[in-house]
């Protein structure tokens, strides 16, 4: 029935990540493994945070609590995976096909970030998508029929954000740039808490800032990863 909606939202949310995967991950077994490992670590963080949420019965309905802690847990695990990757770098160097992955450290960061992003996006969206396959759409008991599209857009922004965050985060720890670390954690908290407004269908109040943050973070990540206005110009000029 509303298979169109299903596919539409799937494309919106997972099209870009899929493209990223196809063009930058799929060729290199090591990257695939790192991707999945990152996903696994994200799962662990989620498990911990939901355990906390589940255990603290009184605060179950206060989603903000769970959100804050899960964000913190995620960042912790981001750090853990950072440590792990950096410590196994030598091994990776030996393992990797094309050594770009170890020469350019941002690739590791990017891959693990994408892993984080994809899995979190999936967990946020996959059940919604499954429910979307029925004949109905949102809105019978409150909620607008924009629900699905906004969820998809939101998930996309989260996926991209995770990627950028990892790039910034890893680099920040390489260079002891605490500003960047702070930036990552704060923006993550900001975005997640902002989405609390979605419950009241204040979509523009959430989507707009989130995408602004996404773009800013993207630019920062671009800079961090060695891009610059000049290089970008050249990149564009090449046409």
């Amino acid at each position: 029935m509303t298979l169109p909606e299903l596919f539409g939202c799937t494309f919106i949310a997972f099209g870009p990540p899929f493209a990223l995967f196809v063009f930058s991950i799929a060729n290199d077994p090591v990257r695939i493994i790192i991707l999945i490992a990152a996903a696994f670590f994200w799962l662990l963080s989620l498990l911990l945070s939901s355990l906390l949420w589940f255990a603290v019965v009184p605060l179950r309905d206060v989603l903000a609590f769970g959100v804050v802690f899960s964000v913190l847990f995620q960042e912790c695990f981001r750090y853990i995976i950072y440590r792990i990757l950096r410590s196994t770098e030598q091994g990776l160097h030996a393992v990797a096909e094309d050594t770009r992955i170890t020469e350019n450290k941002h690739i590791l960061a990017y891959v693990s970030g994408l892993g984080f992003g994809i899995i979190s996006g999936m967990f946020a969206l996959v059940n919604v998508l499954a429910d979307m396959s029925g004949p109905g759409t949102m809105g019978l008991k409150g909620g607008t029929d924009l629900f699905f599209m906004t969820s998809a857009a939101q998930a996309l922004s989260i996926i991209l954000l995770h990627t950028f965050w990892s790039i910034i985060f890893f680099n920040a720890f390489d260079t002891n740039n605490y500003l960047h670390i702070g930036y990552v954690v704060v923006t993550h908290l900001f975005v997640s808490l902002l989405t609390l407004l979605n419950a009241d269908a204040l979509y523009w109040a959430t989507l707009l800032p989130n995408y602004i943050v996404t773009i800013l973070t993207g630019v920062l990540a671009f800079k961090v990863a060695g891009g610059s206005g000049r290089s970008f110009k050249r990149f564009v000029m090449c046409r």
């Binding site: 539409g8 870009p16 255990a55 429910d131 029925g134 759409t137």
Partner: protein
């Protein structure tokens, strides 16, 4: 590490003690809302399929409330975003409207919801004008019965019938009885659909999805063939024949030695004489599990029960009768609504000397044993009941005279007048199966002039018979005195039943004993009260309790289902009637201990006050499965026997939700595709020339000249 372990342990403890289970709401719970109701389903006979079925995956339609005929025009003349699901109140659920909806086709009308708003309704019967039109008494092998003239609707047995029960609909019809559910539907319609019809195509509309997919198709022949033919590992079932149980009981136990057959040779005991008093046990309606048939069949069942009860109490032992070989056989036929399944089978069994069954160890009964048959038809209006016979016979004369003698006697003050009606204008009752075999068969039919506007419909309920439960916790097992009218006023249902059954019982009393009835005792209206309470309101009632095993689980607080249904279906009504007749027609056996009281004819009842008692009963079952399913390669189109089958289905369900407009869907999809393609191109470009973009960082890349790709 240790701390982690500790904290984990603490968490686990918390988990264990936090017994509050999390109610997490899936998105689908916010999308859908279930609607409780009853669905129309598919039945098949030898030639046709009737009823309705949804599509395989469930039919979806946009809700549209029909208040006046004009609203239908909106749906039928180029609706903005079909398919629609009209919400139709009963008074608009007419043949013409339904047929128009059917013609419109499933692309326009995908679901029909019948909502329980009976304000303007003044008639509602979906049976044919001539019930059982194609079975019953036929002459010079016409396909239609001669006992009813379709062309003259006013003179038919169901003048208000629309015949929709025998139509085949391409869409499911769902009946919503509960007021809350109706409010849900209406509010949803008002909120989302009931404005600016022009823009229906552009916005999300409140729609309903009904799942009632029927497995069977075409006709009984096809679906039975497919069911019996195992064509792969897991054979699948398409339809079941309608099947139930007739309940019968004799006034006197047939325990005289010549009636107990020692050897298996089925010999008829020629000098046994039976007066058959019969009625119909079942009823039907369009929707699954609904339909009480209060007026169309329950009245006659009540009368039969009272007659049996009264005769049992009045009459002396069989040996003292002038003709000690005489006996009365009370039979309640099942499945009569579907071409006389029960009576056809009964006749078939008697022909084959298969009644009673071997298991009863009693001699079979042949037609020679039957003295005459008094069939109690519908008693819509007891003021003018007619005694129908095919031909004028002295027997009929005498009985009519006896009946009227009591009916009119000032002594009892029933002031009922029973007229005679001779000829082919015979009501659609079980007697027709007997007459069909042999027109000389002495069948007399008590039947009132049809006055039931809700024949075979969900509205033939206690309101239709104006029943109010008196709940007089009096002893209903004893006969009442003629003069006590304290509980029920004269024209209450209880009194009507009391009067009619008293008249019949007295007439039969006179017939059996040869003496006129002089007593003051008449049938008990309290029994009638309890009887109707059980059959119309709740199976969890005193009468059923008394007539079942002591402290056996009480029946549901719902009236028993009286649709014949299929093998393995709930045979509630036949079961209760069986116990009831057993209880009311039996003699107590005080000196038989409980443990020896398990084998028929001995039966252990809870009794009036719940302390069990052992009684010698006479009741039993016979199968009510149409002979058509017994005869090898029966010709399904011959119309000789009932061929009704009921399709199997997996589920009935209905839910409402918002159906997104095509515009919305297309927009979503196109946005998705655009995003997808753009991201692909973009990322391909970037990844193919990422050295350019991120030139500065990796030392090894730094020395590179720009790639030749650009």
């Amino acid at each position: 590490m240790a701390q982690e372990v500790k904290s984990a342990a603490i968490w686990l403890l918390l988990l264990l003690q936090s017994s509050a289970i999390v109610i997490s709401e899936r998105t689908r719970d916010k999308i859908y809302q279930p609607i409780i109701g009853a669905s129309c389903f598919r039945r098949l006979n030898g030639t046709h399929q009737t009823g309705c079925s949804s599509t395989y995956s469930g039919s979806v339609g946009v809700l549209h409330l029909i208040n006046v005929e004009a609203d239908l025009e909106f749906l039928l003349s180029s609706p903005p975003s079909p398919p629609y699901a009209p919400l139709i109140p009963p008074h608009l659920f007419t043949r013409t409207n339904l047929l128009r909806l059917k013609e419109a086709g499933p692309r326009i009308i995908s679901v029909v919801l019948l909502i329980n708003r009976p304000k303007k309704m003044n008639q509602f019967s979906h049976e044919l004008n001539c019930p059982n039109q194609y079975s019953g008494l036929k002459l010079d092998n016409r396909t239609e019965t001669v006992t009813c003239d379709v062309t003259n609707v006013g003179n038919t047995w169901n003048p208000w019938g629309t015949g929709l029960l025998h139509e085949d609909f391409p869409f499911p019809i769902y009946y919503i009885a509960d007021a809350e559910e109706i409010d849900k539907l209406e509010s949803c319609f008002e909120k989302f659909n009931n404005f600016d019809y022009a823009s229906h195509a552009l916005r999300s509309l409140c729609a309903v999805e009904v799942k009632s997919f029927m497995s069977a198709a075409v006709n009984s022949e096809v679906c039975m063939r497919r069911t019996n033919f195992i064509n792969n590992l897991g054979g699948s079932k398409y339809c079941d024949p309608l099947e139930g149980r007739n309940v019968y009981a004799t006034l006197y136990p047939r325990n005289s030695p010549e009636n107990l057959e020692a050897n298996a040779a089925r010999r008829v005991n020629a000098n046994e004489k039976f007066i058959i008093v019969s009625c119909r046990l079942d009823t039907t309606s369009m929707f699954d599990g609904l339909g009480l048939g209060a007026m169309d069949s329950l009245l006659s069942l009540a009368t039969l029960t009272h007659v049996a009860h009264m005769l049992r109490l009045l009459l002396p032992t069989q040996s003292t009768l002038p003709d000690p070989k005489r006996n009365v056989l009370f039979v309640a036929f099942n499945g009569e609504s579907y071409d006389y399944i029960g009576s056809q089978r009964f006749v078939y069994d008697i022909e084959h000397l298969a009644f009673p069954t071997r298991s009863t160890h009693s001699t079979p009964i042949s037609f020679e044993n039957i003295e005459f048959m008094l069939d109690i038809g519908t008693l819509d209006d007891i003021r003018n009941i007619k005694l129908h016979t095919l031909t004028a016979t002295p027997l009929a004369q005498q009985l009519l005279q006896k009946l009227n003698q009591y009916a009119k006697s000032p002594r009892y003050g029933f002031n009922v007048n029973i007229e005679s009606n001779v000829g082919y204008q015979i009501p659609p009752t079980s007697a027709q199966s007997f007459l069909r075999r042999e027109t000389k068969f002495p069948a007399l039919i008590l039947n009132a002039v049809p006055g039931n506007k809700y024949y075979h419909s969900v509205y033939d309920d206690l309101d239709n018979v104006a029943f109010i439960y008196g709940n007089t916790s009096e002893d209903y097992t004893i006969l009442a005195d003629i003069n006590d009218k304290k509980y029920f006023d004269a024209d209450s249902l209880q009194m009507k039943v009391r009067n009619v059954s008293s008249i019949v019982a007295m007439a039969l009393y006179e017939t059996l004993t040869g003496k006129q009835y002089q007593g003051n005792e008449v049938a008990s209206s309290i029994l009638a009260d309890e009887f109707f309470y059980c059959y119309l309101q709740s199976s969890d009632c005193p009468l059923f309790k008394a007539s079942s095993y002591p402290n056996s689980p009480a029946g549901l607080p719902l009236p028993p289902m009286r649709y014949i249904s299929v093998l393995g279906g709930s045979q509630e009504s036949s079961g209760w009637t069986y116990r009831l007749l057993g209880f009311l027609l039996s003699h107590p056996e005080p000196n038989v201990p409980k443990e020896n009281c398990s084998q028929l004819p001995l039966f252990y009842f809870a009794g009036l006050n719940g302390t069990g008692e052992c009684r010698r009963t006479t009741q039993n079952f016979t199968s009510a499965l149409s002979p058509a399913f017994l005869i090898e390669d029966y010709d399904w189109r011959s119309g000789q026997y009932s061929t009704w089958t009921e399709s199997t289905w997996s589920q009935f369900s209905a839910r409402i939700f918002l159906r997104p407009s095509n515009v919305h869907e297309i927009t979503t999809l196109s946005i998705g595709i655009v995003v997808f393609i753009i991201s692909f191109c973009l990322i391909y470009i970037i990844s193919s020339r990422w050295e350019v973009l991120f030139e500065d960082v990796p030392a090894s890349n730094a020395a590179l000249p720009p790639p030749t790709a650009c």
